[in-house]
Symmetry: C2
Subunit: 188 residues, 2 copies
DNA sequence: CCATTCACTCAACATCCGTTGACCGAGCGC
DNA sequence: GCGCTCGGTCAACGGATGTTGAGTGAATGG
């Protein structure tokens, strides 16, 4: 309504993007089950039926909202690995992308989100495992690294544990660094 | 019905316990929202109305099912701390108690469960923080320790990440130990 | 042996949610 | 200018869920 003059296709794309943004925000905040199509539609200033028309079903809307999770960038040196991991955590950017948060929020209660999470985390594990020095436990160590970062992300972004919420990102990174180094270094 | 001869009070206590067990199992498996009172009742071989009569509401049933989470045992030495933490993880016992799993499963999507989780994890953090050597970052390091264990618990018990699921518990503990030691040791 | 208690069931209500089909009106091409 | 396309709305259905109130039958206690 307030947009004065636009091509029909442009308006169409704009409202679709508005719906997707509202969906991402609500999915990230409340998770899949507690996010209703009606709430997404209201937040986007649109009729619920339109959401269905554009995305087919609530499931497909969720999939579309979460899809923007980028894979881990190609790992370079084994030393820069830890820095890269800390960046992945999103501590440097003040937060993970909302689509990722939506997936994390729902991963424990929605089987489809759990599959998505397992796949994404599995890819991370494989990437890190390949960058680690050759060792029988490389994959397991990579899994522990990813689990550690997952725990910090959950505690910080999703649960808001007070010591984490109030701490500056670089201090968290500084304290985490030796722990990640210990996990990535064979101990024999 | 199959129980042949019992006092009325005993039967009553038995069915209440059966309901609680079914509730814990389903809450741990599917989380708060996806667990229906009808399903709990069916699993306990009972009418849904009886669940209401005994526990008042679905919320109170959940609270009762989750309540059995024990606080951290009084921390002794600063060296045994890491061992104790690994025990808390439940790796040695093949799994955390089902009430704890129920709370963890729902903590990202149910605000009440999130409060419960924040409180329980906060208590853990305080306990560990007090056991750490005096340092300005003690509480933050304790929070990172708890987050790490939370991440491993989630990845292992709730998501079932394959490298973690297939690894023997003592190997996970062995790899985790130096990382936890790095977190609990001031680095200056 | 009888009245009462009490564990337990049955049927129903109210609400909410995902989803659908008919419908409307403004912008587009001709 | 006209008819068609299409972005968008409206009203409704069907199912599931938490919750309730009346009812039933067996164990209890006197």
């Amino acid at each position: 309504m307030p947009t004065p003059h636009q091509s029909r296709a442009a308006r169409r794309r704009a409202t679709e993007a508005r719906i997707l943004d509202s969906a991402r925000e609500l999915f990230a905040e409340r998770g899949f089950d507690r996010t209703t199509i009606r709430a997404v539609a209201a937040s986007a200033g649109v009729d619920p039926a339109l959401v269905m028309q554009y995305f087919g079903s609530k499931r497909e809307l969720f999939t579309a909202a979460v899809q923007a999770v980028p894979a881990a960038p190609p790992t370079a040196g084994p030393d820069a690995l830890v820095d890269q991991l800390l960046a992945t955590l999103g501590l440097k950017l003040g937060g993970l992308p909302e689509g990722t948060l939506a997936m994390l929020r729902s991963m424990l209660t929605d089987p489809a989100a759990a599959d998505h999470a397992r796949a994404a985390l599995g890819r991370q594990i494989d990437g890190i495992g390949a960058a680690l020095p050759e060792d029988a436990d490389a994959e397991l160590r990579a899994a522990l690294v990813v689990s550690t970062l997952l725990g910090v992300a959950v505690g910080h972004q999703l649960l808001g544990l007070s010591p984490l919420r109030d701490a500056p990102a670089d201090r968290i990174a500084a304290l985490l660094r030796p722990a990640l180094a210990a996990l990535t270094t064979p101990t024999h």
